[in-house]
Symmetry: C2
Subunit: 247 residues, 2 copies
C-alpha cells in the first residue's frame, strides 16, 4: 500500500461543491469514480476541504491509499484522459502512509476575483463577482490589513457551521488590481484555516466599506463583536478560488 | 427612423454561431428577440459577419433601423438586463441611415488563443486550443509575416463557401506569448475580409510548421498553390475570437 497526494484544478460552475451528495454532480463524486476506474480499486478519497457550490479551485489536494502499482508520475495523464473537461489533475506524489489531505493541511490561500466594470462581461459571468461601482484597491488593501493576525472570526462565519473553535490566524491578506486586465480586482487571503463562508464575508465587508455602508477602520470592531450581523453580506460563490494548499 | 450600431461580446461555447437556424440556439436568434422586446418592434437585424459554432466575440457589431425613441446610450443597459449571461452589449451609437454592419465593414481583426501547456486546464477548455508540445512564438511570428499582403487565399478556405473572389489583403499578422499568462500563445490577424475558416486554417498551418510537418518558409508556396490540401488542418473553433470590427 502507498499513499498519494493528487492536485487538481476545477471550474466549479458545474458542480455542487466538493463533497459527495445524493443526486448532485460534485467534484468528489466525479473524481473518485474516475480514480477508481484508473486504479481498479474503490479506495476512500480525502479532499483538503469542502468547497461550496460554484466555488473554483486552482489547486485542490486529494489523498488516498492504494495497492495499485501505477507509477505516480503517470497518474495525472491517466486521470485527465477520463476526467470531464471541467476537472484536470496536474500533479501527484507519494506521501507518508498516514497522510490525510484535510487533517495534515497547515494552511490555505484563497483568491477572490471581482470584475469591476460598468458593464458585465460574458467571459467572467461564472468566474468573478461583477461589481459596477468604482473600487479603490489601495483603500481596500489598507483596510484588509486589519484581517491579519490571530482572532476569533465568529463575525465572519455563516450560520450552519458546527465548528466550535473559531480562532484562526490570517498570515497574508491583500487587494490589488491586476495589471494585465485592470477591470479585475483580486483579494487574496492566507490562513491556517477558514470558517464557513469566511472569505466571502471578508470580501462582502470590504465592499460595504467601499460603498460607505460600513466606516473605514471598522474591521477590528467587527471582529471583536463576534457578531455575524456586524459584518457585510456573503459575496457570491462564483468569485472564489481555492488557490494554494500548504502542508 | 434612426439607424443604430450596437456592439456586443459573447462567449460562443453555448451557441451554434451567429446566424438564425431552426431549432438551434444562435446569437442572432437570442439577440434579436431581446432587441425586439426592448424596442417593441420586430426590425431586421444585421450582423457584421457569420461566426461558426463555438467561436467567441470580444466585439461583434450589429445594425438595425428603428422608430423607437429609446436614447441610444441607454440601449446597452436595457439590453443587458434581458440578455442571457453569455451575451452582453457594451456600446451603441447612431450611424448613417443606410449603414449596414456587414456591407460597410472595412476589415476585421481575429484573435486565436492556444493554451500551450503539457496538461489541460479546466478554465480554458472552451476558450483556447490546447496544444501540449512546445511552441516557439518567435519562429511562428516570423513565419506568420508571410501571410501579409494581398493574395488569393483559396488554399486557406474550407469547402462549402460560395464566395468566388478569394483575394484578401492581410494588413497585420503576429504571434506572441502573453506576459500575464505565458502558457497562452496568441495569433492575431487583421484583413479587409476573411474566407470560410481562413483564420483557423492559418493557425493549423503554423502548428504543422511548428511540428515539422510543413517546412518553414512554405506559406508563400501554399498560398500560390491555391490548393486547400497543401495548408494545415482547420484548428478548433474554441480558440477563435472576433476581436475588432473596422468601419
Amino acid at each position: 500500500m502507498r499513499t498519494f497526494l493528487v492536485k487538481i484544478k476545477y471550474d466549479g460552475s458545474g458542480f455542487c461543491g466538493w463533497q459527495v451528495q445524493e443526486e448532485r454532480r460534485t467534484v468528489q463524486a466525479v473524481f473518485q469514480q474516475t480514480l477508481w476506474d484508473v486504479l481498479k480499486e474503490q479506495v476512500p478519497v480525502r479532499g483538503c476541504s469542502r468547497t461550496d457550490s460554484g466555488v473554483h479551485a486552482n489547486e485542490f489536494c486529494i489523498s488516498f491509499r492504494t495497492s495499485c502499482a501505477v507509477p505516480c508520475e503517470k497518474l495525472p495523464l491517466a486521470l485527465n484522459a477520463k476526467l470531464p473537461p471541467d476537472i484536470a489533475a496536474f500533479d501527484c506524489y507519494p506521501v507518508a502512509d498516514d497522510f490525510h489531505a484535510r487533517y495534515d493541511c497547515l494552511g490555505k490561500q484563497y483568491r477572490y476575483l471581482i470584475l469591476n466594470a460598468p458593464l458585465r462581461d460574458p467571459f467572467w459571468h461564472t468566474r468573478a463577482l461583477w461589481y459596477k461601482y468604482p473600487l479603490d484597491e489601495a483603500f481596500l488593501n489598507a483596510q484588509a490589513q486589519d484581517y491579519l493576525g490571530t482572532h476569533d472570526f465568529s463575525a465572519f462565519c455563516s450560520a450552519g457551521s458546527d465548528v466550535t473553535d473559531k480562532v484562526r490566524t490570517v498570515s497574508q491578506c491583500g487587494v490589488r488590481r491586476l495589471t494585465d486586465d485592470p477591470r479585475l480586482v483580486e483579494f487574496t487571503v492566507t490562513a491556517d484555516g477558514f470558517l464557513y463562508n469566511m472569505v466571502r464575508i471578508m470580501v462582502g465587508t470590504l465592499l460595504q466599506m467601499s460603498a460607505g455602508k460600513l466606516p473605514s477602520g471598522s474591521i477590528p470592531d467587527i471582529i471583536a463583536s463576534r457578531n455575524r450581523e456586524r459584518a457585510g453580506a456573503t459575496a457570491a460563490a462564483c468569485g472564489l478560488y481555492l488557490n494554494k494548499v500548504l502542508y
